[in-house]
Symmetry: C2
Subunit: 236 residues, 2 copies
């Protein structure tokens, strides 16, 4: 079975939701048969590259609240994160354009290191005093994830590298009706929106597993080979 | 959209079917949004490693025919292949255990070179005077596909390398009800069995594209972030 998770690394509920999904997956009997793929989704695709602002200030402005009130909103999210055993810093985090991070995550996917990099990026952004909007931090994280430094630098320096992969993921999200993240899709059949409790994920995995079947309107008539090497051959 | 193709490289209809699928895909308007993944399926999983026999002899024995009659059966397949613009040699091909080839194809997948290697292996087996049951040929094909020679040798020398990936693909085929190959699965939703005409693939792709939607019984209630950075925050 295959689970696709649309997420943005700037999205707190994606960070929390991934931890909850991971717990839900651990409670699923067929967990070893599940492939997890991360898909790009930018919360702020139009934000200018290289321009960042403190999260608390952005929240205060967006909701018309004081900085203290905005800090209180962040503390609510932080409490959820800590409830999942995740560290969460309310102060010192920046908001910004995440396109380059998504491009780098696609390089990591091509090298089989996507989840490693994603976890490191989440951790740097939400738990550590490291800015994921600093290209040097991204290079260091890529190396920690097992990528080659030169490759990471090449991708970051070339705006077009993996850009189409990011956009294709985002088009797919729109086509599947996902307009908020995290968004989880099980075998392209079941969608789960948001950072649900772990048991919701376990149940959804069980339901999707039980419902696995392939509609095969064109299943007959094609020439095939069967095990033991018997191929449909005219005149055989 | 994602298309998974279960196939064995020893399967003539998989070779022909891939060419037909490729033509069908070329006629599909959203072809650039289609990801194609190849999945392992062994026609002869119990065949001893390192033991091969000429295909014509194997066919004659299986169907109780003379060698000439078996050659005639192969000529029928060859005619279909040539009809797709593929070279096909009736004589000089061997049958054998393809487990190591599938393991190598999984290495190639991890390096983003799976289709390149698959096409080269098909071509070596069906069109060229090269035995894909010779490890040195496989190493050469891997290098042609862009893999590192040392990695290919390491994988071929270690029976366990990517073995579980091959078996997982085969378990999935069984769970999806595929008992012959090629077997095409579109977005885990539509199955197409056999080397169908190209237009059948185009129609199936169109049908699967039109039917894209995700059942979302748990779509509500999870905490999400929306574009423009609006996250569900208690008290916001």
């Amino acid at each position: 079975m295959r689970v696709e998770i649309w997420a943005d690394i700037a999205c707190p509920w994606c960070y929390v939701g991934k931890a909850r999904f991971t717990k839900g997956l651990a409670g699923f009997a067929h967990r070893d048969e599940v492939e997890v793929v991360f898909r790009s989704f930018e919360l702020d695709p139009h934000g200018p590259k290289g321009v960042t602002a403190p999260v608390v200030e952005v929240l205060a402005k967006k909701y018309g609240r004081t900085l203290d009130e905005a800090r209180g909103m962040e503390e609510h999210v932080a409490a959820s994160a800590r409830g999942e055993g995740l560290e969460y810093r309310v102060e010192g985090r920046d908001n910004g354009n995440t396109f380059d991070i998504h491009r780098l995550l696609h390089l990591a996917a091509a090298r089989g290191r996507q989840e490693e990099l994603l976890d490191l990026v989440y951790r740097a952004n939400f738990a550590e005093e490291r800015s994921v909007f600093d290209p040097e931090v991204l290079v260091a994280l890529a190396v920690e994830a097992g990528l080659e430094e030169a490759q990471a630098r090449t991708v970051l320096a070339d705006d077009q590298a993996y850009a189409e992969d990011v956009r294709a993921d985002e088009r797919e999200a729109a086509e599947l009706g996902a307009n908020a993240v995290p968004f989880f899709v099980l075998d392209r059949r079941y969608g789960i929106s948001g950072g649900q409790p772990a048991e919701v994920f376990t149940q959804a995995l069980e339901q999707a597993w039980a419902g696995r079947e392939v509609t095969a309107p064109e299943a007959d008539g094609g020439e095939t080979c069967e095990p033991d090497g018997a191929c449909a051959v005219p005149g055989a």
